[in-house]
Symmetry: C2
Subunit: 550 residues, 2 copies
């Protein structure tokens, strides 16, 4: 056996290169504190052309001082960067592709910038590595997409690099861990540099530089739903879901999406749910952002725990005053963590329920409907039956239909959708728009959000389809069509089969569930306005200005 050690290869090239870069940047810093007015020079010193750079654009929090500064570096000095941005939200995150500073991007969501992404892709100025779910993109940072440089955001920092993220911890610890221990360089923008932090969310040893931002990091209130916009149709569907899914299966732990349908469910728990005697029997443990519409259920004693992906603007004082329910630090503020909440939402809860914009006849669904390459976000991480789950819960076992010796349960993966979107556009379609969008963008597979074979239930205003009870694909399609109204898929339905499907429990209409559509009134909502939510919170919830009526 020979050991090929004739060459004197260095095995710490990343570490040595990092030290050189840090030395170059030292001119623009006082110890670990970068001078804000020298930030562009500092980035030019730290970042090399072709680097893989993680720029923190989370679902909510944006390292926007750093992204605006990155857009100002000299493309002659720094170019062809490979960007990792989980949620592309800001124009300057895309501007850098027009100027040549960046060339390639791996991302998870590009909602507000998706048209520009598509345009630059077509113009050959931007290459897409892949479109991921949030968790996938972080996972790859530990495998084949480890960042050379990470540009992240926190609320406060100290001179030793310790970071306090406040309520929006989100993805910061994960990005920093991958970069710092992968031999990369971490720069954190903070709203304020202080001597003593309220708490340490990320140890200073993991952070190379902090810099005080010109203004607080941008954070969007993405999870605030104004109860005034909840319609009687939403309420009817919420009643069907509560009786036909939550009550039937005894759903104790769950994730809710951000739609008005699930907001309606949250607001029906203290009224309709209470009248059905369901308190304590459903909805005790939650994985979701701190939705203001959950306040009445919390105040009424329905909710034992809430673990959060991120925070929500205006909920800070309320959360601090409800530490029995929320995960908070000794300082009182929320500790969120997107990776851990996604993990909880994937493996530990009974149910994922979410709204969608399009469903095909096989129950595949997508929110891609407009020709935009919007990406996935986090829904697919929770909206599937996790193959790695082994523990049982009542709800999970309820969905075990195979009597065989090696059969297992199934997570409740529920899709809620009205049969038509506003403007009379059908939700149930022959082919998802995503198929054509994916084809046009040259994607290797169509950007399906939730795959039909994972979906256990579909709830519409017509009723509930219990897809997990179907014996075969044909029967699945028939059950789905039976709740698809007069959409193209619904019109396929053969009404002569309906009785059989209802009798065998594959389809339930409102009367089968004891729900009277005429009872679906807004008066059932525990809160009918943002002001009502503020009142329920005892004045602790402080809605952002755009949601205030006063």
């Amino acid at each position: 056996m020979t050991r090929p050690d004739g060459t004197q290869r260095s095995w710490s090239t990343r570490r040595e290169d990092k030290q050189r870069r840090l030395q170059r940047a030292a001119a623009f810093a006082d110890g670990r504190v970068l001078k804000p007015d020298r930030i562009v020079e500092a980035l030019e010193a730290v970042i090399a052309s072709g680097d893989r750079v993680a720029l923190e654009g989370d679902n909510q929090k944006q390292a926007d001082f750093l992204s605006r500064s990155l857009a100002r570096v000299d493309p002659a000095k720094v170019h062809d960067l490979h960007m990792l941005v989980s949620s592309i939200s800001r124009p300057e995150q895309i501007d850098i592709f027009e100027t040549g500073i960046a060339r390639r991007i791996d991302f998870a969501y590009a909602g507000p910038q998706s048209l520009r992404v598509a345009q630059l892709l077509e113009d050959g100025k931007l290459e897409v590595g892949a479109i991921h779910t949030y968790v996938e993109l972080y996972a790859r940072m530990f495998v084949d997409l480890t960042p050379r440089v990470a540009l992240v955001a926190a609320e406060k920092g100290d001179r030793h690099g310790n970071l306090y993220t406040g309520a929006n911890t989100e993805d910061t610890p994960t990005i920093v861990e991958a970069t710092a221990f992968g031999g990369g360089i971490v720069i954190a923008q903070v709203n304020e540099i202080v001597d003593t932090l309220p708490r340490v969310d990320i140890p200073g040893g993991w952070v190379d530089f902090v810099v005080e931002a010109d203004r607080p990091a941008a954070i969007e209130p993405l999870f605030t739903r104004d109860p005034r916009l909840i319609t009687e149709q939403h309420i009817l569907m919420a009643m069907l879901a509560i009786r036909g899914v939550y009550e039937r299966h005894g759903v104790l732990s769950l994730n809710h999406g951000i739609g008005f349908n699930t907001a309606a469910i949250e607001l029906l728990l203290p009224t309709y749910g209470e009248a059905l005697g369901l308190k304590g029997k459903i909805c005790r443990h939650w994985t979701l952002n701190p939705h203001p519409t959950l306040i009445p259920a919390i105040e009424s004693g329905w909710v034992e725990s809430v673990h959060c992906f991120g925070g929500e603007v205006g909920m800070e004082r309320y959360i601090e005053a409800r530490s029995d329910v929320f995960f908070t630090g000794p300082d009182g503020s929320l500790r969120s963590n997107r990776v851990l909440c996604q993990l909880a939402g994937q493996y530990a809860v009974d149910m994922f329920i979410g709204a969608t914009l399009q469903i095909d006849g096989d129950a595949n669904s997508s929110t891609v409907t407009t020709g935009r390459l919007a990406g996935f976000g986090g829904a697919p991480n929770m909206g599937h039956d996790p193959g790695g789950r082994r523990h049982a819960s009542k709800a999970w076992l309820d969905l075990k239909t195979d009597p065989g010796p090696t059969a297992r349960g199934h997570k409740l993966v529920v899709q809620m959708a009205e049969t038509f979107q506003s403007g009379g556009v059908p939700t149930f379609v022959e082919e998802l728009d995503a198929v054509e969008v994916g084809r046009a963008a040259g994607m290797p597979i169509a950007p399906v959000m939730i795959y039909g074979d994972d979906v256990s239930h579909v709830v519409t205003e017509e009723g509930v389809a219990y897809l997990y009870l179907a014996r075969d694909e044909e029967e699945r399609r028939a059950a789905l069509a039976a709740v698809a109204g007069v959409s193209p898929i619904g019109l396929r339905h053969d009404p002569s089969r309906t009785d059989d499907l209802r009798r065998r429990g594959l389809v339930a209409y409102p009367e089968d569930l004891g729900v009277r559509p005429t009872d679906a009134r807004r008066s059932l909502l525990a809160a009918r306005s943002i002001d009502d939510l503020v009142a329920w919170s005892g004045g602790l919830y402080e809605p952002p200005a755009r949601f205030r009526s006063y």
Copy 2:
């Protein structure tokens, strides 16, 4: 709308109760440092009967000073605890059920203690909440199993509670995060209390007490495989896997289990793999513990990155000298993280490949074969096709067989097994022992480790079955039987179908893959002993005494 605030309910009961407990324990501490000789009294002060207590028993690292101390508390004062122990490894973790200190347990793996768990279960002295995979159990800590008290282990701590975990970070940050931010109490045993830590792995603000242990925390070298025990049969299977799976699909990123089959693959890369011209084309990114048998492949330049669940005894100096490959801190030592590595192994890699002890005709497999309730560990988290994955890789797309517009790729989930175990016990069986074990233990479902519907390939000494190419269940079973030798499943095989299965690519025998069984010699191994591994490492690998020949 009325707000039901007539009652003056407190919403910070956990926080207030925690303060009372901390005050009681203050008598046994100097600030945050507990006096080791008062540890039993301190635990009695901090833990209340009925509490949910997370005791760090990881796959490798054990908080054994704390578990031994917990076994000494007065059962009249502290009883009926609900324990969360990911890997039950030590006798005192079970003794506490005999004395009544504990009553209920949620766990992931109980290998060495599984017989006693089964006995106490039968005697009614122990209740099992559920048996999980590692990641599931942590996930539930953020949902419905948040610990009231966590007893964890680190290498060093300081008087402020900051912890340095060294190479075996494993599960500590996750358990501490769930407990600390869930309003619980965190006690960490450390080998040593020092003024200045080599690095901070867990911030002091998350930890209530540190205590110096009477001896270093127990850590098992679970991932060391002595090359002397690799047989020519292992080598043949490794050659089949390299040609029939790794090369064929261009597997760039992967997880390896701990068996001798995969150790053989690691040791064939610098020899057989090199001769095939595969360097750079396969096996560049790894998620696994730092296997000593990976050293020759690393030294030969095959390996770009390794992210680890935990550490491995004896690999410390080698890892420090190879920071381009491993995730390490500024102190030079490994930063492992089980949750993040599991996440990477689930979502970010092309392939999971593992050994198993039993496979049934549908390719379901289990390591439960002896009547023991051993649990799952982490394999199922990676050994399935993750429904939440959306990005494509070449290998993943290679397994896409459906031409439909919404079809997707598939993770390579590969099972490697000789058709017979030692002693002539068949690996391929009509029914898994797990079915009867689960039934006898009253489990709601059988403890299947990897489900057949997730498995894409099975490799035996007979050949490779490409199950993902099967058109239906019957054909899957036929392909599997074709590589199952003269086991009960293999004898089912109709030899007249073999040609068709081989022609259509569902089955490949050695000659189909260009592998000559007579070439499968131990001389092909890059290292044939532990000493060889030490030599490859340039003396940096320091094997534990039990593996040394000198």
